[in-house]
């Protein structure tokens, strides 16, 4: 699946998702649980603001010195027998990985969860060669069996599906005969995938944090699937976004502590694994061959510019879990594998404004995302900045906003017109007004009032009120 997950227009996606009652219930209860657990963990840890500041300073330092750390990483991976391939584009990355699959005559490939492989559309490239590609994260596996449905949450990809729907997917596609109990569904997947790990030719992972000083990669999971993906097949390929790197184990530890608390409210997830190079001599498990593919795919264009802070992201989805817009529209509305506030900022940068120009408007700019971010990315400011760029440089403001601004500009530029307009506002809107609010506005107001009420214009304008006040001394 590439970054773009839908051909529907943004408004069509919004309308469709707002009608999905199960999804909306699931998302709001998930948000509450995630938020509560995150806040509990932050409180229990103590000095959370200091932790966030430390996370921020580490991420900033790494971005400022990214070339140095990537050099060090590649040297150290190579010393431990791993191959490193720097890929400027998605195409270069998938070509290289296709090359390995061909050389290994790979029939079966197991994968653990990775956003960057989704971004570069790796599965399709491998399936093109005739390889069977199996996602092993439970949520990702469910979506894969369900005809490659797109993920709706960065951490819980199948959040939009209920257990009955999941049971039916397995029943229809694989003849599953048991109940919809989550334990039974998980046990079924455990047994089904066990044999796949043992017989796969290649294991593919993402990378939470690469460690420059030791040439290691760090994988964070609860299910243990990444460990089986890397312990059993003879060849391991790890794909990382080029910014996912830290200087040493000491900084990895800090970011992992922030990640697991912010993502799932755990002190640590069940499995944090650091893998260094190929297996050691005499080891029975672990890969004989290891390839690290470091992907740019548009990230370097962000570097050095005003959107650079988004590269601090550690993909915890705390911003997604805090976002009131995500709560109502769910992940699929964003039309990108990256949803929620991080997706709003990142998708137009990596995928272009043409496909994602509406996303910066899928925000109330309330700043809840910025507060939740464990590495202090000023998310709502970046979202606001996107809007400015869209209006100023791209000329792509949504039509209703353009009309509204044009009318306001015309009216506001002439004192007499402004006066008439403010006087007229109240009577002009009166047919739409009930109890001092407008809930079905005309023209440019329609998009606003579809989602919420608009206060009716006051009968007196501020200027009139002021005049009265200065005249009478008191109001």
């Amino acid at each position: 699946m590439a970054m773009k997950t839908s051909e529907d227009r943004f408004n069509q996606r919004v309308t469709k998702e707002l009608d999905n009652q199960f999804m909306r219930g699931a998302v709001s209860s998930a948000q509450e649980r995630f938020q509560t657990r995150r806040l509990q963990q932050a409180e229990e840890l103590g000095h959370w603001e200091e932790w966030r500041s430390h996370g921020e300073e580490i991420r900033k330092h790494v971005l400022e010195n990214l070339d140095y750390y990537l050099y060090q990483l590649s040297e150290n991976v190579s010393k431990r027998g791993g191959h490193v391939f720097f890929a400027q584009t998605a195409q270069e990355a998938t070509d290289y990985i296709q090359g390995i699959a061909k050389k290994k005559e790979a029939a079966k490939i197991v994968k653990s969860k990775s956003m960057v492989t989704e971004e570069i559309n790796l599965n399709a490239a491998l399936e093109e060669l005739g390889c069977e590609v199996i996602e092993t994260d439970l949520g990702e596996y469910i979506l894969q069996v369900a005809d490659h449905e797109p993920p709706s949450h960065i951490v819980v990809p199948a959040l939009h599906k209920n257990k009955e729907q999941i049971r039916d997917v397995f029943k229809e596609k694989q003849g599953y005969k048991q109940s919809e109990k989550p334990e039974e569904l998980a046990l079924y997947v455990r047994e089904k995938l066990r044999n796949e790990y043992l017989t796969a030719d290649i294991g593919i992972t993402g990378c939470n944090f690469a460690i420059a000083e030791s040439g290691s990669i760090t994988l964070v999971t609860n299910e243990g699937n990444a460990d089986l993906v890397t312990a059993l097949p003879k060849t391991q390929i790890t794909v990382m976004g080029m910014e996912r790197i830290v200087p040493s184990f000491e900084e990895m530890e800090v970011l992992v502590s922030l990640l697991t608390r912010s993502a799932v409210g755990q002190k640590l997830t069940s499995y944090i694994t650091t893998l260094t190079g190929i297996k050691d001599e005499g080891d029975s498990d672990g890969p004989e061959e290891f390839h690290l593919v470091i992907v740019d795919n548009g990230r370097s264009n962000i570097l050095g510019g005003e959107f650079q802070p988004i590269l601090q992201c550690i993909r915890c989805a705390a911003c997604v879990n805090a976002c009131p817009v995500y709560r109502h529209v769910g992940g699929h509305t964003y039309g990108s594998i990256y949803s929620g506030p991080v997706g709003v900022v990142l998708s137009p940068l990596l995928g272009g404004y043409d496909d994602f120009k509406e996303l910066p408007y899928a925000s109330t700019l309330c700043g809840a995302c910025t507060d939740a971010c464990p590495v202090k990315i000023p998310l709502h400011q970046l979202i606001h900045r996107h809007r400015q760029v869209i209006v100023e440089n791209e000329g792509k403001a949504p039509v209703s906003e353009k009309l509204l601004m044009k009318a306001f500009g015309l009216g506001a530029s002439s004192p007499s017109l402004y006066k008439i307009a403010t006087k007229m506002a109240s009577p002009a809107m009166s047919p739409f007004t009930k109890d001092n609010t407008i809930s079905k506005g005309p023209g440019p107001l329609k998009a606003w009032t579809e989602a919420r009420d608009f206060p009716a214009p006051n009968k007196d304008s501020f200027r009139d009120w002021m005049k009265q006040r200065t005249k009478g001394g008191k109001s």
């Binding site: 209860s29 998930a30 200091e50 932790w51 300073e57 330092h61 400022e64 990214l66 070339d67 140095y68 990537l70 590649s74 190579s78 010393k79 431990r80 027998g81 191959h83 490193v84 720097f86 400027q88 270069e92 949520g139 469910i142 819980v156 199948a158 989550p182 998980a186 046990l187 455990r190 066990r194 043992l198 000083e213 030791s214 609860n222 699937n225 460990d227 089986l228 312990a231 059993l232 040493s248 184990f249 000491e250 530890e253 502590s257 755990q266 002190k267 640590l268 069940s270 694994t273 650091t274 260094t276 190929i278 297996k279 005499g282 080891d283 029975s284 672990g286 740019d296 570097l303 050095g304």
Partner: protein, 238 residues
């Protein structure tokens, strides 16, 4: 054997260009303004750390047994019985003898009809086959993190990764002397090894309880791809 590196120069030159400078060849270790991690459980004694560990085990669905070397064989056996016995895979590790487990692992298990397989570097394929069919895997923690309830395993040719992942149940022996406040201390210890030029284990596992998932309706399921059940046995060793 060193691996190949492709396309590095142009890739890094482009990054440096974006950052508005020439590529950096040297950089001292950064100094940080904030260091909140040092304050966590700073003054806790070993016994207080054990208390933290015991409490945390409740959150991570892990049983914990406190014992000493004298009582270890019988306490370990009790856990194995509770897990249904049958078959056990262990690392090839001298520490099992040091903890006085030789008699248990050889004669006693044989008598009780418990199959024991010891990891053998000479038989790589058989190792995986045995780990896959074993009911219980036993490993030993190198450094143990009280705050999160985490055991840390280092792989080697005698200590296969699969022993802690493939069997349905996992037992991890935790020498009390290995308990530290949190991941900070483990990370520093490993960093020191790296800076001393040591080759760190190709696989370091920070394991916190059995595998789990909340991918279906956010309902917690304990036991997914890795072990379904886990027990820590803390051994008083000082």
């Amino acid at each position: 054997m060193t691996g190949t590196i492709q396309n590095r120069e142009t890739f890094l030159a482009n990054i440096a260009k974006q950052l508005g400078r020439s590529p950096k060849a040297e950089l001292p270790r950064p100094t940080w303004q904030y260091q909140p991690q040092d304050g966590v459980l700073k003054d806790a004694t070993k016994d207080e750390l054990v208390e933290v560990l015991v409490k945390q085990c409740k959150n991570i669905h892990t049983d914990i047994v406190m014992t000493n070397t004298a009582k270890l064989p019988q306490d370990l056996q009790a856990v194995i019985d509770n897990y249904g016995g049958q078959s056990v895979i262990t690392w090839q590790d001298k520490r099992f003898q040091d903890y006085g487990l030789s008699a248990l692992m050889t004669t006693q298990w044989q008598q009780a009809n418990i199959e024991h397989y010891e990891w053998n570097p000479q038989q790589p394929e058989e190792n995986i086959r045995q780990a896959e069919k074993a009911n219980i895997g036993i490993t030993i923690s190198e450094i143990t993190l009280a705050e999160s309830g985490t055991a840390v395993l280092f792989s080697s040719q005698e200590r296969g990764r699969s022993v802690s992942f493939l069997p349905e149940k996992s037992i991890i022996l935790i020498p009390k002397s290995t308990i530290v406040p949190r991941m900070t201390q483990a990370a520093r210890w490993i960093s020191e090894k790296v800076r001393n030029g040591e080759n760190i284990a190709s696989c370091i596992n920070f394991i916190t309880g059995p595998s789990n998932s909340a991918d279906i309706e956010m309902i917690l399921i304990v036991g997914v791809h890795g072990p379904i059940k886990a027990t820590y046995i803390v051994i008083e060793d000082q």
